[in-house]
Amino acid sequence: MTDNNIETLVEPLSGFISRKLEEDARVTEVRRLAEGHSRQMLLIHVEVAGAEQRYVVRIEQDGIFGTSSAEEFRVMGALHGLGFPVAQVRWLEDNRDVLGEPFFVMDFVEGDFDNPTGDTLKEFVTVLDRLHKLDWQDAGLDFDLKPESVEEATHMQIDRWANIYRDATPLPIPLLEEAAAWLHYRAPASGPFGVVHGDPGPGNFVHDKGEILALTDFEFCHLGHVYEDWVFCAVMRGPRSLSTDGWIELYQELTDTKLTAEEWRYWQVFNLFKGACANTTSLRVFCAGKIPAPNLAIVGTAIHQNFVFQLTGLISD
């Protein structure tokens, strides 16, 4: 789906929402909300009984990154129910009859579009820490993968991402296979086991006046070792707001979390491996010709190669 044809979604979305609400609903405006490589994110204005409502439609893109809307919808719904700052999800459409791809609809949460800084980042770290420490079993969170220990979770995640890359590429990538073996060999046998967001940091939460209104983008959420999140945020998503050292200080100050150099290296390699594997799906979709978008070509080539290059260097050190 390209940006040019989002207007064509007005009719099918109007029909879909009317059926869900069991009353006439008319989409009056649709526009791109944010750039997502694996999901199209649209803000829609919907007129229902003379009143306007705003929703976000999150649409899959031909299986890019190998994640599932159904799991994301389920997890977000459960977290919202627990009072977590997560948008309320409304409706999931699993088949492709309506928009050509699975999608779900959630409430629009309005916030400050400026890059978060200062106290907002502190609040974010506190919220993420709460997510990590959530008693997910008691809360009824249901994930596709159900490891029983942090060690099993890490091995499961390595296999998950390796299989996603293997399914997406016609040829094996030996440096990724070596990385998978390295990660298995050094997988931590213990550590904090909890709900891992998988893609946390600035750009993936809505904030206003220092308050975190909603964590977003739960497509990578899973049970695992929570250091994955801390390193991901500090190294990959967070530096646009705060230096990596600044994040490390925040983690220690607010959550008493301090990783050793070896732990830091492990989770850096893990996150680069995860990204490199996920990025192969972009190239698959681009080469299939269904979504010939420039971002997919770049993610599948330069970004992928950059991740493999970095992780190979870290493994060799």
Binding site: L171, P172, E178
Partner: protein, 147 residues
Amino acid sequence: MADIRLPTDDQLWLCMSETMRSVILPRLDDPWARAALIRLIGLAEFAPKRGEDPSEQRTSETIACIDQLASNYPDIAAQLPGGWPGVDQGQVLDLCSQLLAASVGDESEQANAVRSQLKALLKAHLTEDFTVSAPLITSFAGGLNDR
């Protein structure tokens, strides 16, 4: 035989890149469209720099490297697939994957040789690719590369 059709592919790519840079981009206000166009410019400048498909050359280099390792280490010789070295690229990369993965956590002379020779060669291939593609990272982030 040389392709004598004019204009050449390189000239066509240059035409696209220059027109997008100097004619279309300055007149484009929509941020999504600008981001897409800048990435497109990056791809139009990347495409002619890729050169010929290096797969055949790299497969030959990799086979030669594995042959060298196999001549020194019987365990590696025993892993060579039937028909070696007359195998396809996928079988060569499969064997590379097995050898590299098996060397993880192993400090034997053989494992060190796999890392210092085979892994070094694969890293060199990756470096060649990434050297050409790296400017796309600037395009991805919304920047125009120097011409």
